[in-house]
Amino acid sequence: MSIQGSLGTFLGVEMAKPKVGFFELSSCEGCQLQLLNNEATLLEFLSLLEVVYFREGMTEKSNDYDIAFVEGSITRDDEIERLKEIRHNAKIVVALGSCACFGGVNQLKNRFHDLEWVKKEVYGDYPISTRKAAPIADFIDIDLEIYGCPVKKEEVERIVSRLVLGKAVTHPQYPVCMECKANENICLFELGEPCLGPVTRAGCDSWCPSNRLGCWGCRGPAPAANFKQLKEIVKRYNIPVERLLDRLECFGGFQNIVTDMRGSGGKGENET
């Protein structure tokens, strides 16, 4: 991953000033807006980059960019072509947010195996085009993933700074639970709340549990996740399995474990 163009040096380290583009597929566009949501550091953050494509924020457009941040999942055929074009133009493609990384909330419609029913439920008999929601890595090679629904701006800033400095980007291997403990929160299981903190990849600084909301797993599984233990915790605290499954299937990161727990043809599939 190398980027041309230079900002000069900082503490003796060569800094690139990459041309970046922000793109959105099926999404709420919230992850892009998160980038504008850190007002205190916004101007400094922008000074690291040359933004050449940001449809939601600027009129000028260019296809000459080094880094493409892609938000959203693929839910219609025409998006595949757009995505491939972005891949073709960019040196580095970053999947921005849970929709791009795992399909996000959009993939909740996939649990109804009959897409015709899904269409009919919303549009009646009016013809409308859609396909199973899928993460962007199903169609192109990606270089980096930034997890979260929404992404955490501090994490985006950290990752972009490392890209600019030519440093490797790594994600925590441990789960949200570790951060939550470090933040000295009351364990949500003690309050009777289901929480995916024990299995979800950290990096959000236990954003939801610190606000007394159990983790919904938007960042996907931690490499070191112990699902067997999670099931035992849930059982010990008498939390209905369905409430755990609601969280596990919300953003698409835990697809394998959901399939495993539901079994084939289980509850929640083709419920109509």
Binding site: E24, L25, S26, S27, C28, E29, G30, C31, Q32, L33, Q34, L36, N37, E39, A40, L42, L43, L46, V51, F54, R55, E56, G57, M58, T59, E60, T75, R76, E79, G104, V105, N106, L108, K109, F112, W117, V118, K119, E121, V122, Y123, Y126, I128, T130, A133, C149, P150, W207, C208, N211, R212, L213, W216, E242, R243, D246, C250, G268, E271, T272
Partner: protein, 426 residues
């Protein structure tokens, strides 16, 4: 007079989501004028089917990255109405405070980052950091204040964490609330400066008569935000649960979003509609600024929605100060009340930044969602935008505008509605 003109804008910039503008003028007549919505549908209403009620606010908040708080609160109200839960006074005040700060954040984002560049002759806010640094700083200060308060009350500025059916998971810190009160007071200077800046903007004098739909304030001096009667400037009045009589959704080939109409072929919702229908309920200081900027009810110039948003910013800041005073005048009560599901239907109407939003949820007796319906403000505006573009094209011919001017005016028109297109398709 300009006789021929061909405008074809794919994926209009500086709006949320994907829409196209097409205008064709031949021999001085408008041959084609289209506002085309090409956003991909995400099928939120289907996603919710079979889900336990607690999923509704959490999932529905993800409909929109700008007004996630509004969607979350609408879903919560739909569930609570369905289960016959009345929020405590404290919860109602905190929710309104949170909503106010979303309104401020969203309006400031639109006014400064999306709309203002057109009036200042640039393509985005980026060049303004050089040419008008004080304007950008004003905007950032206001937006920061709104977002910081959303963090404090809702747990997070985007996709809130503390807002749940029955109340809140956690309450804000009282000391910090008092600090926010001071920041709100101080922000009035930035808002007055914004009003001064706006008075220098050359707003197009185009107007087209339409029907404005909004909530009605429940009593004197109460500008509407959460729940209440549904009204239109053509005299229609309906109860909140009768929302389908106000929305009348239909599909058209040029749009993946549903469209709405009421007494006429199209209708408008949003800040201008709210203000037109509730002008006398504005805070006196906000009303004064509105009058100074030439905005009096009922105003049919769609570009005035920008001004109406600014006026609402003043209103919500002043009202937030009152709310904080009231909240701090008594001790905290229980943050969350028990929730007992029951079978039935819950309907909520909430004024979000872009207009009136409806969520309707049907439950079985365990609180599992059987059917969901969301009617989005921008979908209610799409047809109005389309007919405005058609009329604007005619107006541009009559005014002898050249292609570039017509194109810019059409873009500014759509932006004035502050459309949230991915929301409208959801």
């Amino acid at each position: 007079m300009k006789l021929n003109c061909d405008i074809d804008i794919k994926h209009l910039t500086r709006v949320e989501g994907h829409g196209n503008i097409r205008i064709r003028i031949e021999n001085g007549k408008v041959a084609e004028a289209q506002w085309e919505v090409v956003e991909t549908p995400r099928f939120f209403e289907a996603m919710l089917v079979g889900k336990h009620y607690e999923n509704a606010p959490y999932i529905c908040g993800r409909i929109c990255g700008i007004c996630s708080i509004g969607h979350t609160l609408a879903s919560i109200r739909a569930v609570e109405n369905g289960f016959a839960i009345t929020p405590s006074e404290q919860t109602a005040k905190l929710r309104l405070l949170l909503k106010h700060m979303e309104t401020l954040q969203s309006h400031i984002l639109h006014i400064y980052f999306l709309a203002a560049p057109d009036f200042l002759g640039v393509g985005s806010v980026l060049p303004l950091t050089e040419s008008h640094p004080e304007v950008v700083q004003q905007a950032l200060r206001l937006k920061l204040l709104a977002n910081d308060m959303c963090d404090e009350v809702g747990g997070r500025r985007l996709h809130p964490t503390r807002t749940v059916v029955g109340g809140f998971t956690m309450l804000p810190d009282r000391y910090r609330l008092n600090q926010f009160r001071q920041r709100l007071r101080a922000s009035l200077a930035d808002l007055l400066a914004s009003a001064k800046l706006f008075s220098t903007f050359d707003l197009p004098s185009f107007s087209r008569e339409t029907e404005f739909v909004s909530l009605k304030g429940e009593g004197e001096g109460i500008y509407p935000f959460i729940g209440g009667d549904l009204v239109s400037s053509d005299g229609v009045v309906k109860a909140e649960y009768d929302y389908l009589a106000m929305t009348n959704e239909y599909m058209a080939e040029y749009s993946t979003s549903k469209l709405s109409k009421l007494s006429r072929k199209s209708m408008a919702v949003g800040a201008l509609a709210r203000l037109n229908n509730n002008f006398n309920e504005l805070h006196p200081q906000a009303k004064e600024i509105s009058e100074d900027l030439g905005l009096l009810a009922v105003n049919h110039n769609p570009y005035m929605n920008n001004v109406a948003q600014l006026v609402e910013c003043v209103h919500v800041v002043l009202d937030s100060i009152v709310l904080i005073d009231e909240l701090l005048s008594s001790d905290w009560q229980e943050e969350r009340q028990p929730v007992i599901p029951q079978a039935g239907k819950g309907i909520a109407a909430v004024e979000v930044p872009r207009g009136i939003l409806y969520h309707c949820l049907e439950f079985d007796d365990e609180g599992s969602i059987q059917r969901a319906d969301c009617v989005i403000p921008t979908s209610q505006n799409h047809a109005n935008i389309m007919y405005d573009i058609e009329d604007l094209a005619r107006w541009c011919v009559a005014q002898g505008k050249n292609d570039r001017e017509t194109e810019l005016l059409a873009q500014m028109l759509v932006r004035a509605y502050d459309p949230c297109i991915s929301c409208s398709v959801h």
